[in-house]
């Protein structure tokens, strides 16, 4: 049903939190090496969609396959192992592990056995982390945690990185830096799914974009088409 060109091929996804129905039948495909922006106002279900795809939301229906393999019933670690990394909103840094430990605990080479994102490279990319190497995750400032979370995701050498509000709380220079890293990730052939409130940046850095409203995809297409879509601002509430 899906070509293995798709990293993610999700069809008819529904999800619930308890008795509230959050996602109403979503179809989403992400191709290899493709950068997709996910836009929508607060509370429209962006994060829920991501968590559902990754298997964290238990109450879900629909078909999800990763890399051509059906993983509708897969558990989150299986999804991650198949080559997906996740930078969650709120960062998810382990407060009781040092910066170093946070990074190396789950590091693994990619499917070809290469380690492009070595520990040293992460340290070069985020010099601030280098300075705080032995501190516990819980002692870092918000922005430092964000960098750590991205670094940690990269060190698992995924095929797809999902960034949920990766620039939240970062200083402008670091934000630029993150966008630069996103660019780097993009050019290295990793696919990315980006959620960010700065939709200009998202659209500028994506191949394709999808827009969510109330648990449904209301708009999708090439990034530049979307950028010029008159309905966009309405959906985003600007």
């Amino acid at each position: 049903m899906s070509s293995s060109e798709h990293i993610i091929d999700a069809r008819e996804i529904h999800a619930w939190y308890g008795s509230s129905h959050i996602l109403h039948g979503i179809d989403l495909q992400i191709n290899r090496g493709e950068t997709v922006g996910l836009l929508g106002r607060n509370g429209m279900g962006k994060s829920t969609l991501i968590r559902t795809l990754l298997g964290h939301v238990k109450q879900r229906t629909g078909h999800i396959s990763f890399f051509g393999k059906d993983m509708s019933k897969a558990r989150p670690h299986e999804v991650a192992r198949s080559g997906v990394a996740y930078v969650p909103e709120g960062r998810g840094v382990f407060p009781n592990l040092s910066v170093r430990e946070n990074l190396v605990m789950a590091a693994r080479p990619n499917k070809r056995g290469e380690q492009e994102w070595s520990y040293e490279r992460i340290m070069q990319t985020f010099p601030r982390l280098k300075e705080r190497e032995t501190n516990l995750g819980g002692q870092l400032s918000g922005g430092e945690q964000q960098m750590l979370s991205i670094g940690r995701a990269l060190m698992t050498h995924p095929e797809l990185v999902i960034l949920d509000e990766a620039t939240e709380g970062l200083a402008p220079m670091i934000v630029n830096e993150i966008w630069r890293v996103v660019g780097e990730i993009r050019s290295s052939g990793m696919a990315t799914l980006i959620v960010d409130r700065n939709y200009h940046k998202v659209l500028a850095n994506s191949d394709r974009a999808v827009v969510m409203q109330k648990g449904q995809l209301v708009l999708q297409g090439e990034a530049d088409k979307i950028t010029n879509d008159p309905e966009l601002t309405g959906y985003l509430g600007v």
Partner: protein, 289 residues
């Protein structure tokens, strides 16, 4: 108290402290690191002791073989227990675990009573370790106790290294604060925690087996060590392997000298110590790490 007696008492406290650490070590894993409030820890210890007694005749009376077989059985037991009783509790209110482990205590005690009866038993010290060494002209010290101390030290060191130096240790610690994120990094947390739990049970049972020859085996023995184990873990600082180690030694010291110097208050001393330490350092002696 003259010097030689004082030194022997020091040795006593060290040895008692190490034994305490051995018993509390499994709890450090299950409670301190996994965060499961495990009242049944004493039962695992009790199960170990009874295994040392009951398995011996089955494996031809060889103590070390008994240890090995017991250890394997304990790992299996722990693995199954986690699967059957705990795997669905992590998402729930922490206190639910209190209830679960309380139920388990009752069940384990009765099963033990049905299988082995309520008698008091003893296990003899293996022949090669049955000697004693003289301490001055005052008294002798059994080699076996020294052996137990050595095993404790080794285990303590091993566990410390695993936790601080290996990725496995990092994953376990990470899992104790954010299960979802650990999964998102591709780690099978369910399996990981099942293994940790099994290890905790195995260590507790091992403690029961190895200390069986120097203690006696009797109904209710598990509940007696339970509270003191919690004290050890908490004084040390929850999640800290190093802390639990020093806490155990400290308790050994206070208990030993307390019995001699302040006999009227010896029962309560450990608790006074705990209260004082926690009032002084509300997070235990050592923070996690």
């Amino acid at each position: 108290m003259d010097l030689s007696v004082f030194l022997i008492q020091l040795l006593n406290s060290l040895q008692y402290g190490l034994l305490l650490y051995l018993v509390a070590m499994g709890l450090t894993l299950i409670f301190g690191i996994m965060g499961v409030i495990n009242l049944a820890h004493g039962s695992f210890y009790m199960i170990g002791a009874y295994m040392a007694y009951a398995l011996a005749p089955l494996v031809g009376g060889n103590f070390f073989l008994t240890l090995l077989v017991g250890l394997v059985l304990a790992v299996i037991l722990g693995y199954l227990l986690e699967w059957a009783f705990f795997s669905f509790l992590y998402d729930r209110e922490h206190l639910q675990q209190v209830l679960m482990t309380y139920g388990l205590i009752l069940v384990f005690e009765e099963v033990r009573s049905l299988l082995v009866g309520d008698d008091v038993y003893g296990v003899s010290v293996p022949d090669i370790l049955s000697g004693s060494i003289a301490l001055g002209d005052v008294m002798t010290y059994p080699v076996y106790r020294l052996f137990v101390s050595a095993v404790c030290l080794l285990l303590a060191l091993g566990m410390y290294l695993v936790f601080t130096r290996t990725r496995l240790g990092m994953m376990i610690r990470a899992g104790s604060v954010n299960r979802e994120m650990v999964q998102s990094l591709g780690i099978d947390i369910k399996f990981l925690y099942r293994v940790v739990f099994a290890a905790g049970v195995a260590i507790a049972a091992f403690a029961g087996m190895i200390s069986a020859p120097v203690s006696s085996i009797y109904p209710g023995m598990g509940n007696q060590v339970l509270i003191i184990c919690f004290v050890v873990v908490v004084i040390g600082g929850i999640g800290s392997i190093r802390g639990a180690f020093f806490a155990a030694l400290l308790i050994g010291l206070v208990d030993t000298f307390g019995k001699v110097l302040l006999p009227e208050a010896s029962g309560v001393l450990v608790y006074v110590l705990m209260a004082l330490i926690l009032l002084w350092k509300p997070n235990g002696l050592f923070k996690a790490g």
